[in-house]
């Protein structure tokens, strides 16, 4: 009995991975094939991008602040408190800005995409769209993925900036260090490979959160309860995938820039 359950679950996982791969590939191709619904793209940019600015600013600012607090305590033990700016900016730009924004936006938007599309599925609105001769992949999925990629890139830059600003605020007002020195170290030690690393990741993360949100939304079954399940799955899977893909990209980029 237990073996059967494991067998069934394993098959289900393989099937889901297969379906997602096909879905993600088709969605990726649609990004480059007309028609592209630019109005829907701009609407999604507004929802996904501008709507997420407050949480990205707040989480970026306070993460930068925490980094400065924690690092200053450790670095001062070695007499290196002056490099707090370098530590915060490198960590935010190379890693945390992208990952943090990816996870925050995923929590907000993968869930909203999954629940919106899931509700449309269970109320037959997706079928109605297909019956009206409009492709839901092009009309609903492509603009959401395209907007997720574009806006996550922008939001990551915002998170990086506010993370460094948060670190500066802690350094100046709590650690009573020199602000000019902080910004000098933060700027001086940044290299192009660091910035490239930080800006390549959100492209992947945006694609992941957009495609996972759409995938789980579009395969919703089981009424309103199913919508809830899809929403949870979308957030959990996209967050875990973002961290996993971050590891892979970091590994690859470090080997390239080394």
């Amino acid at each position: 009995m237990a073996f059967n359950a494991i067998d069934r679950t394993a098959k289900q996982i393989v099937l889901t991975v297969q379906e997602y791969s096909l879905f993600a590939w088709s969605a990726l191709l649609d990004l480059f094939r007309p028609p592209i619904y630019w109005t829907d793209f701009l609407i999604q940019c507004d929802i996904i991008g501008f709507g997420s600015i407050p949480i990205v600013i707040l989480s970026g600012f306070f993460t930068g602040g925490v980094l400065a607090l924690q690092s200053a305590a450790t670095l001062s033990a070695f007499g290196a408190a002056a490099v707090t700016g370098q530590f915060v900016s490198l960590t935010m730009v190379r890693e945390l800005g992208a990952v943090l924004t990816g996870i925050m936006v995923s929590g907000r938007n993968a869930s909203s995409i999954a629940s919106e599309l899931g509700s449309m599925v269970v109320t037959e609105q997706i079928d109605a769209m297909r019956a009206l001769g409009v492709d839901p992949m092009r009309k609903l999925v492509t603009p959401r993925i395209f907007a997720s990629i574009t806006m996550l890139l922008m939001l990551t830059i915002v998170a990086d900036a506010f993370g460094i600003a948060g670190g500066a605020a802690v350094t100046v007002f709590l650690n009573h260090q020199n602000g000019t020195q902080y910004f000098h170290m933060a700027y001086e030690r940044l290299r192009y490979p660091d910035i490239i690393q930080g800006l390549v990741k959100p492209l992947f993360f945006g694609y992941i959160l957009g495609s996972i949100g759409c995938f789980y939304g579009m395969r919703t079954t089981g009424g309103t309860e199913g919508v809830g399940r899809s929403t949870i799955d979308a957030v959990v899977i996209s967050s875990v995938l973002i961290i996993f893909v971050d590891f892979l990209i970091t590994h690859v980029l470090l080997s390239i820039f080394a």
Partner: protein
Amino acid sequence: MTDSYAAMSSSPAPAPAERPVVCLHEISVAFDGPPVLKEISFSVAPAETRILLGPAGVGKSVLLKAIIGLIRPQNGSVELFGEDITLMPEENLFPLRARTGFVFQEGALFDSLTVRDNIAYQLIQEHVSDEEIDARVHEALKFVGLEQTFSLFPTALSGGMKRRVAIARALIHSPELILYDSPTGGLDPVTSNTIIELIAKQRDVHSTPALLVTHRLQDAFSLCDHRFDPEQDRMVPLPEGQFNRNTTFLMLEEGRLIFDGSLHEIVHSQNTFVREFLK
């Protein structure tokens, strides 16, 4: 068909040589369990209205969706407008679907769009000018008697109004085939009559072929023994003993098509299930 069941529709009965709009050949549909539809075959001729009867859960809606490729059959073939769509890629199906109108069970209106944008959905995708859209939406709303709802959102409409908006959405593009999925299900008798009147109006004024799914016998028989009178702008009964010859019946039982014929044939059917259902 006997002489007593004379043609009384505003359109003539289809000539036998005319190509059917829809033709199903032994289609079977299954999901995860046992088959929902088993070897279903029938056709819909031009200007013909077919009424698909059957109790809830026998696969009527699935059958309707299979006709325009929203659900693919595991066996058999589906022809729509003379083209075999059984294995047709989804992107090739969209132009064919755009030629049909589909009224979903609960309306399936886009709840984030106004009534105007719902009805004009296809026109908006085709970049039709706003002035033309507004004019055509007003005309469609006038057809279903809901002109006052132009700017409202679907959440502000009653169940019956949603169905009528859904009918307007299905009709705005002058479809060559209309599929109605239980358009009167769960509605009060007055609203149901209004909707049946709209279906009769489309049948008798525009001669659009249709497939109507219902489990309400009174709706089916109303369509047979009434016609739409454009002068009075309402449905009027046909003279005693006369019925619309272009309106015929299909009946499903547990996924199988157990009846395909005229009103005369269904009321005189010896099939136990049919007789039980008609009681």
